[in-house]
Amino acid sequence: MAPKEQPIETRTIAVLVDNEPGVLARVIGLFAGRGYNIASLTVSEVDPEQGLSRITIITSGTAQIIEQIKAQLARLVPVHRVSDLSSEGPHVERELALVKVTGRGNKRVESLRIADIFRAQVVDSSHDHFVFEMTGKSEKLDVFIDLMRPLGLVDVSRTGVVAIARGPKGL
């Protein structure tokens, strides 16, 4: 019944929007209502003077669905620009995680050693715990968190991915 099976692709999409009430709900509602995936979504104001916010979405689907997602995003009234970073040349993706690990003795020392290898910062500590701050690609964060699991991992908070195109051109 469905058109020919196409491979599923993952894409990072940047959306520049008017920072007005409900704009995030519009974007999320679009994805929920039409059954599109959201693997990660971040949003923050990037230009207070112009009142612009930037939303970064990681989504997946067939090429046809991805084109639909971009067209549907672009026709939302408060949307200025939609940019498919994955298909428009090289880009940088980063995510930040705060990772809380509790423990004493060897496990505590081991967690600090691994944090050092991963260049994570200690942003809070007591005799019983550390909070590590780490920035990098999502896969690197995954590995770090996995390594912390047997060492007393109790809490993880991640920002989701932000991304920007390489090179001198802006969105």
């Binding site: 019944m1 709900a25 519009r26 084109e67 067209a71 026709r75 009234v77 408060p78």
Partner: protein
């Protein structure tokens, strides 16, 4: 000169007048009292009091679709807004420009579960093109003008403006005229790209079996787009088929017209679609009612798709050449380039294509036999057409079998004379829509071709019709069933007629009389003509109870999940093939 001090309500009404509004369809309530008070003190705007907020939106849709203007609705907060939701969704699906003004509790009470509070912008976000909550009176004029701009530009649609009561009562000297407001982001692409147009011309020039498939976008683009479409098809000699929403954009009497295509489309239209080698889709969106089974949809064709909405491109069907533009502008450019290049379709191939089409047409797929027995619904609508075709009638419909028969048997020569709920399929659309059409065209003959079940869904509007003395005609194809559901139960669910019989129907003649209208009834074929003439000549509202063969089915029919060549042409075709399991899950 500095603008004068005005209340929010006064600014709102001034903005409406400046936008060219003359009519509002609405229903009052607590949150919109300031607007109704301001309405009472002016004469520029006429308010039509409906009897249910859903009907207000449908009436505004009928008004908009028959005039090309933006329809305007005014309802109160809470239930007023939630009742409007069906109409808003209907307008979204069929791309009808509507601005719906909703009352809201005062800003300091928002979020407190106040009396008649609802999260209107939250509820209507997915069923509007855009919506606004006005939080300060300073924003009000800009937002109202933007709302009209968004509603009518690009692919039209409904826009909600939610108006807290304190904003309506606040004063300010901040009124802006429409010309002072420019939208920050919304700039739909209307002009066609030149190289794409040239590529389309070259593709069409090589066609041997071309077909134009047009939809409601042609009507939304304006009457000029209809004229250009007609000229384009005639100049090239290309057969045309229409979606439900496109009827009237091309004259139905023209031999180039193959009728509507899709689930209840004609044999010739569907087979032409299956066999064409170049398809020119114009302002149509490849709806599932049109395409049937997707992997067997026009499989031998190269496809050109003209649409103003980029998200319509490649949504259901992948096309070879998308043209994102206003339909009228794209057609104008196509015609110019076609002429400049002196192209002509290969006459031999075109002749062979037409010969094939005429063979399909000779199958006469809409034929039926009217005996002395009960009235055939097809006969009733065909007679209605014959007796009203020279009277510039406006036709609305409800949803179901009667709607499909109306689409098949009523021939539209001009755009904006056919109002039907295509995308959402809203039972109860036709009667309030006819109210809106009649308000816009007071002297015109306006007929709602109805089913008895649909008519009952917004029957309260008889009171509106009575209040304004509207001579709306309701032509009920009364088969005492929810006919289309019954048909599916017969063909797909082993004749288990679950909950589709309409027991305890009213006496429609006496019902008409109760509302000061005229009731007519026909039960035999030989009285149909006289009664229709009586209906037309009655200068008042008429409810015509046309009692028809209860178990008549609507053919041709492409069962869900089937391809265009898998049409059932009549009752004798019933047992051709069981519907696939994939087909059964489709609506």
């Amino acid at each position: 000169m500095a603008p004068a001090q005005m209340t929010g309500s006064q600014m709102l009404l001034k903005a409406l007048v400046d936008q060219g509004v003359d009519t509002i369809f609405g229903y009052p309530g607590g949150a919109v009292l300031p607007i109704y008070d301001a309405l009472h003190q002016q004469n520029a705007l006429r308010h039509i009091l409906v009897r249910h907020e859903q009907a207000a939106v449908h009436a505004a849709e009928g008004y908009a679709r028959s005039t090309g203007k933006v329809g305007v609705v005014l309802v109160t907060s809470g239930p007023g807004a939630t009742n409007a939701v069906t109409g808003l969704t209907d307008a979204l699906m069929d791309s009808i420009p509507v601005v719906c003004l909703t009352g809201q509790v005062p800003t300091h009470l928002i979020g407190n579960d106040a009396f008649q509070e609802a999260d209107t912008t939250g509820i209507t976000r997915p069923c509007t093109k855009h919506n606004y909550l006005v939080k300060a009176v300073e924003d009000l004029p800009r937002i109202v003008h933007e709302a009209f701009y968004v509603a009518r530009s690009g692919r039209p649609g409904p826009v909600v403006v939610d108006l807290p009561k304190d904003v309506l009562q606040a004063k300010g000297a901040c009124y802006l005229a429409p010309g002072e407001v420019k939208h920050r982001t919304y700039r739909p692409q209307v002009k066609a790209d030149r190289t794409t147009i040239e590529a389309a011309v070259e593709m069409i020039a090589k066609a041997e079996r071309p077909l134009i498939y047009f939809g409601g976008g042609v009507i939304n683009s304006g009457d000029k787009a209809s004229r250009l479409l007609t000229r384009f098809a005639r100049d090239l000699g290309i057969p045309c088929t229409s979606t439900l929403m496109g009827l009237g954009a091309f004259p139905a009497s023209d031999p180039l017209f193959l009728g509507m295509l899709g689930m209840h489309g004609t044999y010739e239209a569907n087979l032409a679609m299956y066999h064409c080698d170049v398809m020119i889709a114009v302002g149509a969106r490849f709806d599932d009612r049109v395409t049937g089974r997707l992997d067997e949809f026009a499989p031998h064709s190269r496809k050109i798709h003209i649409d103003i909405d980029p998200s319509s491109i490649n949504k259901n069907v992948v096309v070879d050449l998308p043209i994102v533009a206003d339909v009228g502008r794209a057609l104008d450019a196509l015609l110019k380039v076609w002429k400049a290049r002196g192209h002509k379709l290969a006459p031999k191939a075109l002749k062979a294509w037409w010969k094939q089409i005429e063979e399909w047409r000779a199958r006469d797929c809409l034929k039926y036999t009217q005996s002395d027995g009960p009235i055939k619904p097809q006969y009733a609508i065909q007679r209605l057409y014959e007796l009203t075709k020279d009277r510039n009638a406006y036709i609305t419909t409800e949803v179901g079998q009667h709607q499909m028969w109306a689409a098949q048997f009523y021939k539209f020569e001009k755009p904006r004379h056919w109002m039907t709920s295509g995308g959402l399929g809203t039972m109860g659309y036709g009667f309030p829509s006819a109210v809106g059409v009649q308000i816009a065209h007071p002297d015109a003959l306006v007929i709602d071709i109805a089913g008895e079940a649909s008519f009952l869904m917004n029957i309260q509007e008889l009171s509106t019709v009575a209040q304004y003395g509207l001579p709306v005609k309701v032509f009920i194809i009364n088969n005492q069933w929810m006919g289309m559901v019954r048909q599916w139960q017969e063909l797909l669910h082993g004749k288990r007629y679950s909950q589709t019989y309409m027991a305890s129907l009213p006496d429609f003649v006496r019902l008409a009389e109760a509302f000061g209208a005229v009731g007519l009834k026909a039960t035999r074929p030989d009285e149909v003509d006289d009664k229709i003439m009586e209906m037309i000549e009655t200068p008042k509202a008429v409810i015509f109870d046309c009692q028809v063969e209860p178990e008549e089915n609507c053919f041709p029919m492409i069962p869900s999940g089937a391809a265009h060549y898998d049409m059932l042409l009549g009752p004798e075709d019933k047992a051709v093939k069981p519907v696939s399991e994939e087909g059964m899950v489709l609506v």
